[in-house]
Symmetry: C2
Subunit: 131 residues, 2 copies
């Protein structure tokens, strides 16, 4: 199969692009992570979100530890072809490693403080078995 669709993307100096995961149906932004060409290709082939973990320096099959996989309904790119948008179904209803539905749970209040605005749904130790 032609990989023209991967070549159309403008990978950054590290060979990565930001990838935003948006929840199918609700439109909630679950998280933003990074992808290299292999992870995006695997995302398409497997139908599950695969990212590139910059901290671990390896492919990151989302949910590999937690079981919280993301089933991909659609893959989009932006006008500059340097940002990927995934339309996903979030297994387990938890995208964030903190045990929350999504990663954007801190909001700036009028006093200039980051305030938590979403609850922890499941103890991370229960998710990752590190207790």
């Amino acid at each position: 199969m032609s990989e023209d669709w991967l070549d159309a993307i403008k990978w950054d100096a590290q060979g990565l692009v930001p990838a935003i995961a948006q929840e199918h149906g609700t439109g909630t932004i679950l998280m933003m992570a990074w992808m290299n060409p292999e992870s995006l290709q695997l995302t398409r082939e497997t139908g599950h979100a695969v990212y590139w973990s910059r901290s671990r320096g390896r492919l990151w099959h989302k949910g590999e530890e937690s079981g919280h996989q993301q089933v991909v309904h659609a893959i989009r790119i932006d006008c500059d072809a340097d940002v990927v948008l995934l339309d996903v179904e979030q297994k387990g209803g938890i995208a964030c490693h903190t045990g929350r539905h999504n990663c954007f749970f801190r909001e700036l209040d009028a006093q200039g403080r980051w305030v938590e605005v979403a609850p922890v749904l499941k103890d991370p130790q229960a998710i990752y078995g590190k207790a």
Copy 2:
């Protein structure tokens, strides 16, 4: 006023973070751009999205040419404090420089082709007056 809220953010090696603009009410992801501390501070102070243009190497007051400003309803950060999410009202209903509602108008089809899935609402030449 304390700038602790800016110090809480993990700016990258270039002193930037990705900033996602999501449309207030609909949840549509309009665009992703970049911010430096000054642009985020101006965003908060003015209530309008201000980005850092990497291509132009200067502050970019969204809508400065097009009039398509983004009125900010909320500012969030993610669990790692390295991605900003803006909840915005998009003036003119056009966020993309191509004249579309949002920048994510290309979707990968089953044959591995990027297909345009959203219409041009206004001719960019009419928006930017470069005709």
